[in-house]
C-alpha cells in the first residue's frame, strides 16, 4: 500500500484544489495549494491565493507538492512563505503540509524538515499535520492544539521526545507513524511510556500509532496503560499487528471505552479475526496481510 490519493477532507471539511485565477468558496471548502511541474514555486501559489477577496477568512489550509520534479522536496518551501504572510492569515487554525501522493513524491524523498518555525509562527493552531521526516520540532507551547498528525517512515527518538514534551493541554487526537527501521525509524515501545502514563496530554482520547513495525508491542503496552481507559479511538493500522498483539486487544476491549479500534493492514489469523467479529463495526480489520518469507511489512515501508 502507498499513499495514492490526496485528502478529500481535512478537519471536518471537504478539500478542493485552489486554481489560480478562479474563485474559491472558502466557507465550504478547504483550499489545497500545490504546484504542478511548470516551474511555479509554492510561494507564488500562496501569493495568488492571498489575492482572493476573502483570503483573510481562511481557517483551514492544505499544502500539496511544493516543487516540481527537480530539486529537493521539503516543507520549508511552504513554511517560509507562510511565515512571511502570517499577517494575511489571522484566522488559520488547521494546517497540513505535504498532501502528496507517492507518484508525486515518495514519502522517503521528502528531506528532513524543521517544524519549529511554523509552530512558533502560528501558536494558535488547533490542528497541525506534516508528512515527511522532521529534523526538529523545538520546544512548543500550543495551548489550542487539538490534533497533531505526523506521517513519515522514519520517526526518530528525538522527534518523539520533542512531541511528548509539547505543552498541549487541549490535545485530543494524535497520529504518529513509527515507520520502518530501513528508513531511519528509531523508536521502540519503551519510548512511548510517557504517553501511555496518561500524565501528559490530559484530554487525549484518540490515539493513532500507525505504520508501526512494533504494533504487537504497542497493543500489549497500551492495553495495560493508564491511558487506555480514556481512549475512544485506537488506531494501529498500517502496521505489523499479529495475533499476539490482537490477543491483548481482544482481552481488553470489553472493559474499554473504545468506540473505534482500527487494525487495518494487519497479520492476524482468520481465527483471531473471527473472535473480533462479536464487536461488529467497532473493530476495523480491513486488508489482511500474509506473512512472507522475509517477515512482515508496514504499509508504507519506504
Amino acid at each position: 500500500m502507498t499513499i495514492n490519493a490526496h485528502f478529500t477532507e481535512f478537519f471536518g471539511r471537504p478539500v478542493r484544489e485552489f486554481k489560480p485565477g478562479e474563485s474559491f468558496d472558502l466557507r465550504t471548502f478547504v483550499p489545497r495549494l500545490s504546484v504542478d511541474y511548470d516551474g511555479v514555486k509554492w510561494a507564488r501559489r500562496l501569493e495568488e491565493f492571498l489575492q482572493l477577496p476573502h483570503a483573510g477568512e481562511t481557517t483551514h489550509l492544505v499544502a500539496g507538492t511544493y516543487e516540481g520534479f527537480e530539486g529537493d522536496m521539503n516543507a520549508a518551501m511552504a513554511i517560509g512563505p507562510l511565515i512571511e504572510h502570517r499577517a494575511a492569515l489571522p484566522k488559520l487554525e488547521a494546517l497540513f503540509l505535504g498532501d502528496m501522493t507517492f507518484e508525486e513524491c515518495e514519502i522517503s524523498w521528502i528531506e528532513p524538515q524543521d517544524a519549529e518555525p511554523i509552530l512558533k509562527a502560528f501558536p494558535k493552531l488547533r490542528v497541525f499535520g506534516l508528512r515527511g521526516r522532521v529534523s526538529n520540532f523545538g520546544v512548543q507551547s500550543l495551548p489550542d492544539l487539538e490534533g497533531l498528525i505526523l506521517q513519515n517512515t522514519g520517526l526518530t527518538k528525538a522527534n518523539l521526545a520533542e512531541i511528548l514534551a509539547f505543552e498541549a493541554p487541549a490535545l485530543q487526537e494524535m497520529e504518529l507513524w513509527t515507520g520502518s527501521e530501513d528508513y531511519g525509524a528509531e523508536t521502540s515501545v519503551e519510548d512511548l511510556a510517557p504517553l501511555f502514563s496518561g500524565e501528559i496530554f490530559p484530554r487525549l482520547t484518540r490515539l493513532r500509532l500507525k505504520d508501526s513495525e512494533y504494533a504487537d508491542e504497542i497493543a500489549k503496552a497500551v492495553t495495560q496503560s493508564r491511558l487506555f481507559g480514556r481512549l475512544e479511538v485506537l488506531d494501529l493500522s498500517m502496521g505489523t499487528l499479529g495475533d499476539e498483539g490482537a490477543a491483548a486487544l481482544l482481552e481488553a476491549l470489553p472493559r474499554s471505552g473504545l468506540k473505534l479500534l482500527d487494525l487495518s493492514h494487519h497479520y492476524m489469523s482468520d481465527a483471531m479475526m473471527e473472535k473480533f467479529a462479536v464487536f461488529g463495526p467497532r473493530v476495523v480489520m480491513a486488508d489482511q496481510q500474509k506473512e512472507e518469507d522475509r517477515g512482515r511489512y508496514v504499509a508504507v515501508a519506504e
Binding site: F69, E70, D72, E106, S108, W109, E302
Partner: protein, 384 residues
C-alpha cells in the same frame, strides 16, 4: 477428395496454438499441421514437407520459456548453459542467443517458402527485425512515424542518466534488446536527486533479474542497480511518454493490422506504466478510447498504424502498441510486435484475428488456384 490442411504452423504448444486450431475449426478449415521450433531447427526438411502438404505457412511466437532459450542458444552455437533449475524460473536471459536462434528459425521458414512456393502470413525477414526493438523503432523513426525520442543503447545506470540529462528527459523507458511481453521493461523517473523505477522484474543479490507479475517500485540505489543489471543483459532506452489516463489509469491501445489495414483493437489500462494484459492490465473496447479522444485523433492513430504496417508489407498481422500522450493530442507508436495478434475476444467484422487470417489465406489460395481447388470454407461470421 480429402481437403488438404490450410496452414502449416511453426509454433509451440500453448494458448496461441489452441487459438489457431479453434480458428480453423470455426472457419471450417482442416486442422493445421504443427511443426515445432525444435523440429524445424533440427530437421530442416520437416517445415518444407509440411508446407508442401498445406496451403500456406504461418509462424507463431516461440515464447520465451527455458526450453526455447536453450534450443535457440544451442542451435546458434552459443553455450546453452546448465539445465535450468526450479529457482531459475522466470530468470531473464541475455537476448543475443535467443535472437540468433529466432533468425535461424526464420531462415528455415524462408527456405520452406522458396522450396514450395507456398504463401506465408509471416515475413521471415520482418520477424527478427521486429524483435530487435531499437532497430525497428529506428526504422519507424526514419520513416517519419511518431515514436518516442530514442536514447539508443544503454550500458548501465551512469550511461542512462547521462543520456537522459543530455536529452533533458526526466522519464525514460528502458527495454531489453530483443525483449517482448514487457520482459525486463523498466520505466525510470528522475526526481531531483532521486530515481524511481516501475518494473516487472525482481533483482536478486547476484544481480540477476527475474520476471514477475507483481509490479515492483525500487528506489534510488536499488533502482540504479536494476538499470545496471538491464545494461549487462543488453538494453536500450527511449522517452517515457506519459499516457492518456482513462478513469485515472494509464491507457494505451493494442491495434492489430491485417494486410496493412487496422482491424482489431483493444484498450488496455493499468495503474502502472506497463499495461500488458498478462500483468493484470484491464481490457476495454476501443470505443472507450475513441470516445475520449475524438474522431480526429482516432483517425490519426489509424493513419500511424497504416503507415507502420506499410513498412512490413509481407508480414500479414502486426500487433502495434499505440498511445495518446496525456495532452490528449499527440499520438505515439510505442512498439510493433511480430506476433502481437493473439487477442482473445477482440472481433473485427465478426472474426477474431486468427479467424480473419484463416479467411485471408483461403482467399489467397482460391485466387491462385481458382474456386474449384477443393478448398471450401465457411465464410459465415460466427455468432458474437
Amino acid at each position: 477428395m480429402r481437403e488438404p490442411p490450410l496452414l502449416a504452423l511453426l509454433a509451440e504448444p500453448g494458448p496461441r496454438l489452441d487459438s489457431w486450431r479453434a480458428a480453423c475449426r470455426r472457419m471450417g478449415a482442416p486442422e493445421p499441421i504443427l511443426v515445432s521450433y525444435a523440429e524445424a531447427l533440427r530437421h530442416p526438411e520437416r517445415l518444407t514437407e509440411a508446407a508442401a502438404r498445406a496451403g500456406g505457412l504461418r509462424a507463431e511466437s516461440p515464447g520465451g520459456g527455458a526450453q526455447i532459450q536453450r534450443l535457440f542458444a544451442e542451435i546458434s552455437g552459443h553455450d546453452p548453459g546448465p539445465l535450468p533449475e526450479a529457482e531459475d524460473y522466470g530468470r531473464i536471459a541475455p537476448p543475443g542467443p535467443f535472437l540468433a536462434g529466432l533468425r535461424l528459425a526464420m531462415a528455415r521458414l524462408a527456405e520452406a517458402m522458396v522450396e514450395t512456393g507456398r504463401p506465408s502470413l509471416t515475413d521471415p525477414e520482418a520477424v527478427p527485425l521486429l524483435f530487435e526493438k531499437l532497430e525497428s523503432q529506428s526504422r519507424f523513426q526514419a520513416a517519419g512515424l511518431p515514436v518516442p525520442p530514442l536514447l539508443g543503447a544503454v550500458a548501465g545506470w551512469e550511461d542512462l542518466e547521462a543520456k537522459m540529462r543530455a536529452a533533458n528527459l526526466r522519464r525514460a523507458f528502458v527495454k531489453l534488446r530483443g525483449g517482448s511481453a514487457a520482459s525486463g521493461v523498466a520505466a525510470v523517473e528522475l526526481h531531483g536527486p532521486h530515481v524511481r523505477l516501475w518494473t516487472t522484474a525482481t533483482l536478486d543479490a547476484s544481480g540477476a533479474l527475474f520476471n514477475t507479475r507483481q509490479p515492483q517500485r525500487p528506489l534510488d540505489d536499488e533502482a540504479r542497480r536494476w538499470v545496471d543489471a538491464l545494461g549487462r543483459l543488453g538494453a536500450h532506452a527511449e522517452a517515457w511518454i506519459p499516457k492518456l489516463k482513462l478513469d485515472g489509469l494509464n491507457a494505451d491501445l493494442r491495434l492489430v493490422t491485417l494486410g496493412g489495414a487496422p482491424a482489431h483493437g483493444l484498450v488496455r489500462r493499468a495503474r502502472v506504466p506497463q499495461t500488458n494484459l498478462h500483468l493484470g492490465g484491464e481490457r476495454l473496447p476501443p470505443e472507450a478510447l475513441r470516445a475520449r479522444i475524438g474522431a480526429e485523433t482516432w483517425a490519426r492513430i489509424l493513419e500511424v498504424a497504416r503507415r507502420a504496417a506499410e513498412l512490413f508489407p509481407r508480414h500479414h498481422a502486426l500487433g502495434l502498441d499505440l498511445a495518446v500522450h496525456e495532452d490528449g493530442e499527440r499520438v505515439f507508436l510505442l512498439e510493433a510486435n511480430a506476433f502481437g495478434d493473439h487477442l482473445k475476444g477482440a472481433l473485427h467484422e465478426g472474426l477474431d484475428p486468427h479467424e480473419a487470417q484463416v479467411k485471408r489465406m483461403r482467399a489467397w489460395l482460391e485466387a491462385e488456384r481458382g474456386p474449384k481447388s477443393g478448398f471450401r470454407f465457411s465464410d459465415k461470421p460466427r455468432d458474437p
